[in-house]
């Protein structure tokens, strides 16, 4: 299953590694944004299935409201990826869950698969390890 994925991450190295991992898995990375504004622009200009959203971006801790907007208003499936998963412990409306950084290829793969299965309405049995789901 190939998906169009938007990476929202302000650390260039982390974003680049994530892009390689996703491309290795056969996905299409539509872009990398390091601010909320550029992320909104990219989401408007492209068809996006899934957004991987960091909470702390170049313009501050704007990831939470960005994720909510992408999920609730723009029909994008949202997975948070952050070093501070506690910040979204209470959940964010419209988002699936949070993956704690640093992570590895295996965890990214299972989490992305899980999110895409949910998006396409396919049955899921349990959440992959490392992914905390929002209620």
């Amino acid at each position: 299953m190939t998906a169009r994925i938007l990476i929202i991450e302000d650390e260039a190295l982390v974003a680049m590694e994530l892009r390689f991992v996703l491309e290795d898995l056969g996905h299409k990375v539509v872009g990398v944004a390091s601010t909320s504004k550029s992320a909104q622009n990219l989401a408007r200009e492209n068809e996006v299935d899934l957004a991987l959203v960091d909470i702390h971006l170049s313009d501050g801790p704007t990831g939470i409201s960005l994720g909510r907007e992408l999920g609730q208003e723009m029909g994008v499936t949202v997975l948070f990826m952050t070093a501070n998963p506690g910040m979204v412990r209470d959940g964010v409306a419209g988002a699936i869950g949070v993956l704690s950084k640093p992570t590895d290829e295996q965890a990214v793969q299972t989490a992305v698969d899980y999110a895409l299965r949910r998006r396409t309405g396919q049955p899921v049995q349990y959440a992959p390890p490392g992914l905390q789901l929002f209620a």
Binding site: E11, L13, V14, M16, E17, L18, F20, V21, H56, A83, N84, P85, G86, M87, R89, S100, K101, P102, T103, D104, E105, Q106, A107, Q125, Y126, A127, P129, G130
Partner: protein, 529 residues
């Protein structure tokens, strides 16, 4: 004869001297009442010398005298000392013919005394104090006439009456003085109390803190100026229990419970709450109070302070924020480093396995760091305490089975661990788990691990038992880097022992740590206390 009064006395000399001093007459100025007596008796007895003589220790002292010109002489030459030994008195017609005055310079040299007649001055209880006496340089073989003797006796009685009178006056004065002193002293105490209270109020009003005081039952009856300045309420309006309304509604119940407990138990009161400032905003305040007790240990008063700690709270929150931010950045660095490792390995496919094991080790460190870094309620990685068991459960989640159920079962005594122990704990269990996943119980579908942690007095023992894995032939020929890392963590860093038992049905590892190893800083702090 060297000691004229060596014969045994019929009284106690110290008692006599005490009685004499009690009259308070020694070394006082001349007084007409006594001068008149000696002048009169000298005229009546027709002697050039007359004396009111008091026998002190080592000297005789004259309250009044005529014809002598001195106020005291040594006791050694005294005629009167002899008189003290006679009930009524002593008459010496011619001292040159009296053995008692052999060698007395007053007789054999100037002034050449010959005649002496003395009458005792006795206290009502019979103690002799001295004499009223007359002396002449001419011998008088016939002694005194009957009139002279009567006059001497009568006037000696008068002298004693004078002395009694002045003693009574003196005692009355002393009594009055004592009373006055007592009255002054009590005035003083009252004045001091007033001064002390005035000082307290000045001090209390000058203090930067709010100060208050209550009766033993907790009824507030005093607030200093700062309280009224801070709260802006009218003086007296928070007396009694009105103070509680000044607290933030969310803090009122807590503050009331704490205060009630202190009132019941006498324990010092200490609490942080939000107090309403006159500007309408609530400011964080530290409230403290202690009980003042009397000698019987009963509480007589409570004195309390309220300190505005709003600034401090803000600083504290600011510092927490900085520490959060720093911690977040560190966590981020872990993410950047693992990304860098992965990106680097992409250039060298043969390094893939190496890069992967390095990444998972760094990830384990990052997980452990997440558990020990400073957290606020919001940043906690899990709900509840960050303990060893919650950390390990999190670390082993990657080895869960296909249904998401854990394959490493953790049981026994839980513990907390600090940032110093985090690296070692993370590396140790990461290595044990990856090793089990490669070669041991976690490599088999049905395999599992039992991890039991047990606090045993001053030791903390962790037992890792692999079950259901491939059969083990014996210890491996070569120790891998992962095993070295595990040993190093336990023996080098945590100061414990790591023991491997290669049983046929599975590897068993016992890690025996000092109980303090997991949180050394906390243990050190406890020792300091």
């Amino acid at each position: 004869m060297t000691d004229p009064i060596a014969e045994p006395a019929r009284w106690d000399e110290s008692e006599r001297l005490a009685a004499l001093r009690d009259y308070g007459i020694l070394d006082t100025a001349r007084e007409a009442a006594f001068d008149d007596v000696v002048a009169l008796i000298a005229r009546i007895c027709e002697t050039p010398i007359a004396v009111v003589n008091l026998i002190d220790s080592g000297r005789q002292w004259f309250k009044a005298e005529v014809g002598l010109g001195v106020r005291e002489t040594p006791l050694a030459t005294s005629f009167c000392a002899h008189a003290l030994l006679n009930e009524d008195g002593l008459v010496v017609p011619d001292a040159t013919k009296d053995a008692r005055f052999d060698g007395n310079p007053l007789v054999h040299e100037a002034p050449g005394l010959r005649f002496y007649a003395g009458r005792l001055l006795k206290t009502p209880s019979g103690l002799p104090l001295g004499t009223l006496c007359v002396l002449d340089t001419q011998p008088r073989p016939e002694g005194l006439t009957e009139l002279q003797e009567t006059a001497l006796k009568t006037l000696a009685g008068q002298v004693m009456s004078q002395m009694e009178l002045r003693r009574a006056l003196r005692q009355r004065d002393e009594g009055r003085d004592a009373l006055e002193r007592a009255l002054e002293a009590s005035d003083d105490v009252a004045a001091r109390l007033r001064a002390s209270e005035a000082q307290f109020r000045v001090l209390a009003d000058a203090m930067p803190q709010m100060v208050w005081s209550t009766r033993p039952d907790g009824f507030h009856d005093y607030y200093n100026a700062r309280w009224y300045e801070f709260t802006g309420v009218p003086a007296g309006s928070t007396d009694g229990e009105g103070w509680n309304d000044m607290f933030h509604p969310d803090d009122q119940q807590r503050a009331w419970a704490r205060w009630s407990r202190s009132l019941e138990t006498g324990e010092p009161y200490e609490i942080e709450y939000r107090l309403k400032h006159h500007s309408g905003v609530y400011r964080w305040t530290l409230g403290r109070a202690v009980a003042i007790r009397n000698e019987d240990g009963e509480i007589t008063r409570w004195f309390g302070t309220c300190t505005d700690i709003d600034e401090l709270k803000r600083l504290e929150q600011g510092r927490e924020l900085v520490s959060q931010e720093l911690s977040h950045r560190i966590k981020n660095i872990f993410a950047v480093v693992t990304a860098l490792v992965a990106l680097s390995a992409r250039q060298y496919p043969e390094a893939r396995a190496f890069a992967s094991s390095l990444r998972t080790r760094i990830a384990a460190l990052a997980r452990a760091h997440e558990f020990v870094r400073p957290h606020t309620e919001a940043s906690q990685p899990t709900v509840g305490a960050t303990t060893l068991h919650t950390f390990l459960a999190d670390l082993f989640r990657a080895y869960s089975d296909d249904t998401g159920a854990p394959r490493v079962h953790i049981s026994g005594d839980d513990a907390v661990f600090d940032d110093q122990a985090a690296t070692s704990v993370a590396l140790l269990f990461h290595e044990l788990a990856t090793n089990a996943a490669k070669y041991g119980a976690l490599a088999a579908t049905a395999g599992r691990v039992e991890l039991i942690t047990r606090r045993d007095e001053d030791r903390f023992v962790l037992t890792w038992t692999e079950i259901g894995g491939p059969k083990i032939e014996g210890p491996p020929e070569r120790q891998g880097f992962g095993s070295s890392l595990a040993s190093l963590s336990v023996e080098g860093q945590l100061g414990g022992r790591l023991q491997r038992e290669w049983a046929a049905d599975g590897l068993r590892i016992v890690v025996d740590l000092p109980a303090t190893a997991l949180s050394r800083r906390r243990a050190a702090e406890r020792d300091r206390l």
